[in-house]
């Protein structure tokens, strides 16, 4: 296993360095410039993500970098495989969209520095850099630092408006996140104590089926589940994601919450591939199913639009964890070349776009109406048709209707469930889709209804921002044109590549 850098590996360094240096520059130049710096970073970061994707696709191999020329186990390595790259490109595209949307949300004044714009435009690139660090990190402690970076960048976004309820939500989010981090760190400590390294590739070679490894992986997984708000650790998410300003909610629900899920994949499929755990994977699946059912049912009962969307996130995260019992197949020996693997990753990506679009459109609606109570949304369909259309497109992906990325993802999970004889997950997916249809139509029915009195709009919503929201929603729809079989790109870097899968 070569540990030296591959050509183009420096791009991995840039993926982290560029956004973080943007943060430093924003802080020193002050509020007026922070927005401009972020807007310059967005195309640059997107270019880097696409370049990494191009390099990985053209060489069909993992992109690697040993920082400081120190190879693991002494040093730290960055590694970008197909999965990392897909997540990085998703992050880059989505953050560009959210950044363009947020230009109208936090206008930076010319004369002085205001709190909210500076904090938002400084923390958004920080979240981006932290996400990239999570996606390419090859060392468990480096990933711990990246997770802390992500937490500290995300938590203040929740309490940006300074109200008591968002402050409480931010504190609860922080406490859950810290709980998750300390469990993760404890697991990493045990792995180092047993095998003398924290590098993921080296660990996969050393790890044995012994109690210390089980304990370590269990602790780390539990910590990451708390960070990912999987049932029963989901209570912190709805108030936090609903209380944040709309672009921040989009980042939190779309991207930040996917990072711990990504790390659970790394733990289970990269460190432990030789010791698959079908029983433990069933537990993850059960928690995922509970998340889908509980999240969807509670979403149906919400009074406020943003809380409904946040509970929908709790449900959709459950789908992600259905991937584990379906993609671990000990008899085949190679868990990843299955439909379920592609389905799970596609669910993460399409949910990111769909949920971001829904939160952003909810934000525009709230700006226009001055509130986000679902019962009083009548007439907004006429006033902001483009916005409601974007919301509907996002909902289509959430429900799993064609054409949309959500449909492809859920279809793959269904196919995998049926083909493997684990039909109970298929039932869960179908019920979840019905419930999602329920809460999406709840909102759309209200929004498209005619209002009795003429609607007084508090603020005019710019066409540009509405167009950005539709564009983001369309990304979720465009993913629906991905072919309905396991993706070759996502398998890059997985041992034993086989693209057959299930038809």
């Amino acid at each position: 296993m070569p540990n030296s850098a591959t050509a183009g590996g420096f791009l991995l360094v840039l993926a982290i360095v560029l956004p973080v240096c943007g943060v430093l520059l924003s802080l020193v130049l002050g509020g007026r410039h922070a927005e401009r710096i972020a807007l310059i970073l967005m195309p640059a970061g997107l270019a880097i993500a696409l370049a990494i994707a191009g390099a990985v696709w053209s060489t069909h191999n993992v992109l690697q970098y040993s920082v400081g020329n120190w190879s693991p186990p002494l040093g730290v390595a960055f590694r970008a495989d197909g999965l990392s790259t897909a997540m990085m490109v998703t992050t880059a595209v989505l953050i560009c969209g959210i950044g363009l949307f947020a230009r109208g949300q936090f206008p930076s004044p010319q004369q002085s520095e205001l709190r909210a714009p500076l904090v938002f435009w400084t923390l958004m690139p920080a979240v981006w850099g932290a996400l990239n660090a999570v996606f390419i990190g090859g060392d468990l402690f480096n990933l711990y630092v990246a997770l802390e970076l992500l937490t500290f960048a995300a938590v203040p976004l929740v309490s940006l408006d300074g109200r008591a309820e968002t402050l409480a939500a931010a504190l609860r989010y922080l406490l859950f996140a810290l709980f998750g981090s300390i469990l993760y760190l404890l697991g990493a400590v045990l792995l180092y104590g047993a095998y003398g390294t924290l590098d993921i590739v080296l660990l996969s070679g050393h790890i044995q089926a012994e109690p210390i490894a089980w304990a370590a992986i269990s602790l780390m997984t539990t910590g990451l589940l708390a960070k990912a708000a999987l049932y029963p650790f989901h209570l912190w998410l709805p108030p936090a994601h609903a209380g944040a300003p709309a672009p921040a909610s989009a980042i939190l629900s779309g991207l930040v919450v996917k990072a711990p899920f990504f790390l659970v994949i790394r733990l289970w499929f990269d460190i432990m591939p030789r010791m698959p755990q079908p029983a433990a994977a069933q537990v993850l699946g059960i928690l995922g199913a509970a998340a889908i059912l509980v999240g969807s049912v509670v979403a149906l009962r919400q009074v406020r639009l943003k809380l409904l969307i946040a509970y929908s996130t709790v449900a959709q995260i459950g789908y992600l964890f259905l991937m584990f019992p379906l993609a671990i197949k000990p008899e085949m020996g190679h868990p990843w070349n299955t439909t379920a693997w592609t389905g799970g990753v596609l669910q993460a990506i399409s949910h990111a776009f769909a949920k971001a679009a829904m939160f952003m459109s909810a934000g525009l609606i709230a700006e226009a109406l001055g509130h986000d109570r679902i019962a009083e949304l009548s007439g907004i369909g006429r006033a902001l048709p483009i916005t409601v259309f974007a919301f509907a497109l996002g909902g289509v992906s959430l429900m799993g209707l064609p054409p949309s990325g959500g449909f492809v993802a859920k279809a793959m999970l269904l196919t995998a469930a049926v083909a493997e004889g684990q039909w109970w997950w298929a039932v869960v997916v179908l019920v979840g889709g019905l419930l999602a249809g329920g809460y999406v139509f709840l909102v759309l029915a209200r929004a498209l209804a005619d209002s009795n009195e003429p609607l007084t709009l508090f603020a005019t919503v710019s066409r540009r921002r509405q167009a950005v929201v539709v564009a983001v929603a369309l990304c979720a729809v465009l993913l629906g044109f991905v072919p309905l079989h396991p993706s070759e790109f996502l398998q890059i870097g997985r041992p034993g590549i086989a693209v057959g899968g299930i038809r």
Partner: protein
């Protein structure tokens, strides 16, 4: 039993104690204290791993030592942020609790 193993057991108990304090105590400030207790236990376990790795003339494996130092600094930053949130919440509401705690 070597002294490293002894402190390892001490660290294990500290993690359990801190976890208990985290679950049981309703006040956020006491939860933050409990977090720091758990953190101390985890770092102690790491330090025991380092001590057992003493070799090449060094008293302990320097990698865990460096990571513990990083961890202590990060834990302090987390405590500072949590306390700032708590104090601001107190200024807004006059209460020092989270309402329904996690």
């Amino acid at each position: 039993m070597s002294d490293a193993t002894l402190y390892g057991l001490c660290g294990a108990v500290l993690v359990g104690l801190g976890l208990f304090g985290l679950i049981v105590n309703p006040l956020p400030l006491r939860k933050i204290l409990a977090f720091n207790l758990i953190g101390g236990g985890v770092f102690l376990l790491f330090g025991v791993v380092a001590r057992r790795g003493a070799a090449a003339g060094l008293g302990g494996d320097p990698i865990p030592h460096a990571l513990i130092i990083t961890g202590i600094v990060v834990a302090f930053a987390a405590t500072a942020l949590a306390i700032a949130l708590l104090l601001r919440l107190f200024r807004e509401t006059g209460r020092a609790t989270l309402g329904s705690d996690g």
